[in-house]
Symmetry: D2
Subunit: 262 residues, 4 copies
Amino acid sequence: MKIIFLGDIVGRPGRELVKTLLPELIQQYAPDLTVANGENAAGGFGLTLEVADELFHSGVDVITLGNHTWKHREIDQVLDRYKQVLRPANYPPETPGESAGLFVAKNGYPVGVLSLMGQVYLEPTLDCPFRVAKEQISLLKEKTPYVLVDFHAEATSEKIALAHYLDGLVSAVVGTHTHVATADERILPGGTGYITDVGMCGPTDSVLGVKKELAIQKFITKRPVKFEIAKGPVELNGVYLELDEQGRTKRIDRINYRKNLK
Amino acid sequence: MKIIFLGDIVGRPGRELVKTLLPELIQQYAPDLTVANGENAAGGFGLTLEVADELFHSGVDVITLGNHTWKHREIDQVLDRYKQVLRPANYPPETPGESAGLFVAKNGYPVGVLSLMGQVYLEPTLDCPFRVAKEQISLLKEKTPYVLVDFHAEATSEKIALAHYLDGLVSAVVGTHTHVATADERILPGGTGYITDVGMCGPTDSVLGVKKELAIQKFITKRPVKFEIAKGPVELNGVYLELDEQGRTKRIDRINYRKNLK
Amino acid sequence: MKIIFLGDIVGRPGRELVKTLLPELIQQYAPDLTVANGENAAGGFGLTLEVADELFHSGVDVITLGNHTWKHREIDQVLDRYKQVLRPANYPPETPGESAGLFVAKNGYPVGVLSLMGQVYLEPTLDCPFRVAKEQISLLKEKTPYVLVDFHAEATSEKIALAHYLDGLVSAVVGTHTHVATADERILPGGTGYITDVGMCGPTDSVLGVKKELAIQKFITKRPVKFEIAKGPVELNGVYLELDEQGRTKRIDRINYRKNLK
Amino acid sequence: MKIIFLGDIVGRPGRELVKTLLPELIQQYAPDLTVANGENAAGGFGLTLEVADELFHSGVDVITLGNHTWKHREIDQVLDRYKQVLRPANYPPETPGESAGLFVAKNGYPVGVLSLMGQVYLEPTLDCPFRVAKEQISLLKEKTPYVLVDFHAEATSEKIALAHYLDGLVSAVVGTHTHVATADERILPGGTGYITDVGMCGPTDSVLGVKKELAIQKFITKRPVKFEIAKGPVELNGVYLELDEQGRTKRIDRINYRKNLK
Ligand SMILES: [Fe+2]
Ligand SMILES: [Fe+2]
Ligand SMILES: [Fe+2]
Ligand SMILES: [Fe+2]
Ligand SMILES: [Fe+2]
Ligand SMILES: [Fe+2]
Ligand SMILES: [Fe+2]
Ligand SMILES: [Fe+2]
């Protein structure tokens, strides 16, 4: 089983890059499933119907989300229409939308995908991701050995601890949210693939995708600043995973691509 | 000017690894200055006289610190004795110890080093690192074009924003504290070398150096757990920097080394 | 139904004051049940067997707890021995001890008491108190119309919102944790008695019970300071509640008593 | 010297109440100076020219602010026009507006007023209020023995510690921001009047002034909710202070007034 996972796609620059580059990556890696975090895809925050459609047309099979899920009201329609758009599982039980699902990969096998959010340094405060993960994963594991978790979280301690907690239970835990790719991709002792953060798909010369002058201004003045998405060169960050028939990761490679789009 | 910077050295396993590996790295890279973050060097938290001496004997020239600076009372003696041990600059003005200094490199030129801490998601809350950095750097720049900043911080946004803020003013901004190496090393438009986090020197099969079972237990039970340093394989993480005569970074390479010590 | 509730009892000075004053209050108010928050009773943090016994001998019927519950390991034995010691209900399901119980009041009727902790600005991050409260309260309400909730929380918004959420469902929501008595005691439209914080029982000339010089030192230096319980004049803070037969609060009076103990 | 201080005035309901009630209070107490926190006066957040004028016409002499200072862009004009509108002093040095001032009271004597914000649990993170307070107060004390500090902060520990730190240096430290009046008004050993929070002027049947259903909805769903100011009965909260000729507080009385406006 071969999977590509792309980190938080940021605004139009991120989407344009995915539209250009993902088809090439699909040719190169021939993934059976392509998953991407879309929490910043619509104008830098949240997701809309049109933007979800655009990502699907670019080759994304499943979209995961994060703390910016509810930015646009239209997200309710997105979650209603597309079972392959997943909001974090540890929102309250009565929250709209799906947070986990089984998706038929190109090789015909089902892959479980779980969207999950951290509790440390993140707003809002959701239920314990450790407990919710175990509950959701046991349901997915009844149907398939292939399970991928997008853990959208800030603190490295929480991300690494969750990965060890799920080691041997799931195929891979991939981190998102910090928008910075980490260099710690590895296979844990129990066979679970792991990376603390895959990084984002968006403008390189920026602060997490935001115009750097505006981000600096906020830190310097301590006053509110309206953020805008940066322009200029872009980068795509993700991982490529190969799983064996027991669902264990055999290979995890970072995909870190910087490009000058015109 | 060639510099090696090593991330947070964690406990005895981290120190042993540095003792073994740093001499080899010094042979390989022939750095003019070697700087390391030592905030976790003594038993996982803080620094003592004996541990500082051990790091100096291993080849470290300058030690920077972070939020765990004050764990052992002996730190007052360490700061008093060694001007090459630097605590973060944005502690209150009357805080003991130095936070910046000029150190004569092996090539005879002085290099300014600044220890600085972030405000976002970090305790305690120190003064604005952006303002303090500018003040300290202008003093160092009167004496040398070579200035290295260890920005000990949690949030990727704060780290990247500070680096852009100082771009062109300092030789390099290297991040520490998250204990996870990032894959975003680069040279900013103004010539400042940057990496969000260099990662740690310590046990690999762990949660930031701590025994993984204990870290997981704390997340699961929400009750206090006494942490211990993990055993087993270790890793060394840092960066190698080459600066031109104007103090701009010409080259920044990650050093990510995993080893099975016996 | 008449109830006295006392806020966080802080260390020996708080316990001595309760020993002296509670019998007088019991004479004066003739409560059917006396409840006190004991999270700071043993040395300023946590609870031990000896300290719990001392509080029971002073006239306390039920002890609630908070974020300092697990300070002393002996708490496991306390929780095991005394069903009338309650730790916050929104700790993980497998946590030792009881968090809610039915206690026979002096008038022969059962009173439900629930210990609950907030999520805002408090460590650790527990499950959503709103959801957990509803679950626990529905169980208690099967047995009695009299239900008292100790909501141990920091943010005024969370405390007031929870009280409105439970208005009409429980007899009273009394806040603890800030150690400062608020002046907003009232009966909400649905009949639930409410006060944002009842305050503490401990040393007056202090910072939340801690020697003021030490607390100031920590704020000024941003370095770790070992806290000690303050000496000198003490104060007792609580509320007196009168409930009607439907369990609604008819009367809520603050008890704020300052005394020079010798 | 007699001073009235009113807590955070919340939106139109708060302003209407102040317009009705403040003239009566001025008759009753004959204050030499009336100060009010106006950070929530315009639509629940921030301050505008029109709203500032309205508060001055109602009898307010000096307006202090807090974390919501910059909600409306018009605040720059307000701060530019009115030296008697004060934003917190620990914003960065280059921040627009005044944070402290000397104001001639009705008895002809000057009174120093300082607006200050806490660092604990509050966004944004400003400079250390302890240090900034001492600096600002020493300037005011050169001109007058009468100095009032509005400490806009969340944590009771930070508020009480600051008051003890300034005890004997200033006439009074009055807390704002939590919107809940505390019952701990007192005169500290050095003669400084103190209350942890004076409470707000706004709708009673609400969560800090916000419609209770909306505040509850946010806590329950963990999703964004647009807040609106509540309707119905209103309350005014403040303190009355009497200072002796050395500037020490001789008397501090809470003003807690609940009214059904039609
Ligand atoms: Fe994101
Ligand atoms: Fe995010
Ligand atoms: Fe560290
Ligand atoms: Fe650190
Ligand atoms: Fe307490
Ligand atoms: Fe507490
Ligand atoms: Fe306010
Ligand atoms: Fe505020």
